[in-house]
């Protein structure tokens, strides 16, 4: 067991981890279930979290390596109880069915728009190609990303 300290959704936390624990397993012991393991192989994006501002697959990241890092998950909200622009756009467009993949898609979309505020459809498809939706809501997801980009632009 090793004690690690990191910032989780803006709050300093400490945790006890074994070397073989991955980030999803650690977050679950801390009561956070937004990042969930599905493929366990880096392919599907259901386990997406941000480490020091970069999207990573929680299933392929050793929990011990979070020591000293800033970690953000889907549970972090800008304002208490409110959805952000990307979440609103996903709801508006019905860009999910069961919702299992949605936290990953939302986090990836936030990253995409932060780097590229007006992505083309080709750029959206490439950026999100590492996220899988078994309910196949891909057309709605692409519309949601485009809507989020428009709302962001209007609000900027």
């Amino acid at each position: 067991m090793k004690t690690i300290r990191f910032e989780l959704n803006g709050e300093p936390v400490t945790a006890q981890v074994e070397p073989h624990h991955n980030v999803v397993e650690l977050l679950q012991t801390m009561g956070l279930r937004g990042a969930r393991e599905s493929c366990g192989q880096g392919l599907c994006g259901c386990c997406t979290v941000l480490v020091d501002g970069l999207a990573v697959s929680g299933c392929l990241y050793f929990a011990a390596q979070l020591d000293g890092a800033r970690v953000d998950t889907i549970e972090r909200t800008e304002r208490e109880g409110e959805l952000d622009v990307v979440q609103q756009a996903f709801a508006e467009c019905g860009a999910f069915q069961c919702g299992f993949c949605t936290p990953g898609f939302v986090l990836m979309t936030r990253q995409l728009l932060a780097h590229n505020p007006a992505p083309s459809e080709d750029e959206i498809r490439h950026y999100l190609s590492g996220n899988l939706c078994r309910c196949a809501t891909y057309p709605e997801i692409i519309r949601a990303v485009q809507l989020a980009a428009r709302i962001r632009k209007a609000g900027a």
Partner: protein, 290 residues
């Protein structure tokens, strides 16, 4: 996963010291993306991982001299993809990275880990071989340089000795050489390749002086296709028939191995068509931007 110990040395020196052991179950870790998959599958059971991510940041830097770009082995694939130096000097690398794995893997995976993994399906090795790149390898008290083509020796095998680390990759600037990479996927657009073809062409006016063709995902390791290269040497770039001959020569000399993305016969036909198309791409791109 079997229990193991994870160490995070803060310098390259310290890491090399920890790796200087006869114990083969002590392994270096870069981004850990390939390692973790192998450990989950039970094909790798290290007793101790020496993570390189806290060694000096200099080993993740990307720099250039008059004739080469040097990339630290700890640079992430994302950092390389977005590097201004790489995009202007080696645009084919930036283009290749765009469809390699996915954003999250590229944010974490390192160049050193990518090359040491030696999965024959990987996208970067054929590109680096075509560009004439080499790796700088360090061990306790020694350093050597080796062409990427000589680093990868077989199916998940390299010529690295235990205790050795890839610390830098040196890619010659391409100047008048034109290059292209074609990743052919058969299941989804951003899948692992069923075939990878990288070409780099050196021309003088309308005449091809030298061609390098490296093919991956078809053999136990990425390989140059010498017969196809010979067809192109001294040929005119305006001669479309020579590109077809080169594709045929490539298909004739290749001995592809089947995998779940295509049979050997299918891969041979992919080689015939995509060697020709990659040559066309390189002539059309003329070093264009990614």
């Amino acid at each position: 996963m079997r229990p193991f110990e994870l160490l995070e040395p803060s310098s390259l020196r310290e890491a090399l010291g920890l790796l200087d052991t006869a114990d083969e179950t002590v392994r270096p870790a870069g981004g850990g993306t390939a390692l973790m998959l192998m450990m989950k599958a039970g094909v790798l059971e290290p007793s101790r991982l020496i993570s390189l991510r806290r060694i000096e940041p200099a080993w993740a830097e990307i720099s250039q001299s008059a004739d080469a770009v040097e990339i630290g082995a700890l640079a992430t694939l994302s950092a390389i993809e977005h590097s201004g130096i790489v995009r202007s000097e080696l645009p084919v690398i930036a283009r290749t990275l765009r469809t390699l794995a996915n954003v999250r893997v590229r944010n974490v995976a390192t160049l050193g880990g990518n090359l040491a993994h030696a999965d024959p399906h990987m996208d970067l090795p054929p590109v680096l071989i075509a560009l004439g790149a080499s790796v700088i390898i360090a061990s306790r008290g020694a350093e050597r340089e080796l062409p990427v083509a000589e680093l990868i020796s077989g199916y998940y095998e390299t010529t690295l000795a235990s205790g050795e680390l890839i610390v830098r990759v040196r890619v010659p600037k391409q100047f008048a050489r034109f290059s292209a990479y074609r990743k052919i996927t058969t299941r989804s657009a951003d899948d692992w390749p069923a075939l990878g073809v990288a070409v780099a062409l050196d021309r003088e006016g309308p005449v091809l002086r030298e061609a390098r063709i490296a093919v991956s995902a078809a053999f136990d390791r990425p390989l140059r296709l010498a017969a196809a290269e010979a067809v192109l040497r001294g040929a005119s770039i305006d001669d479309e028939a020579v590109l077809i001959h080169a594709g045929d020569a490539a298909a004739d000399e290749a001995r592809p191995i089947a995998d779940e993305r295509g049979s050997a016969a299918y891969k041979r036909e992919l080689i015939r068509v995509h060697v020709r198309r990659a040559l066309r791409d390189a002539l059309d791109a003329q070093g264009g931007t990614p």
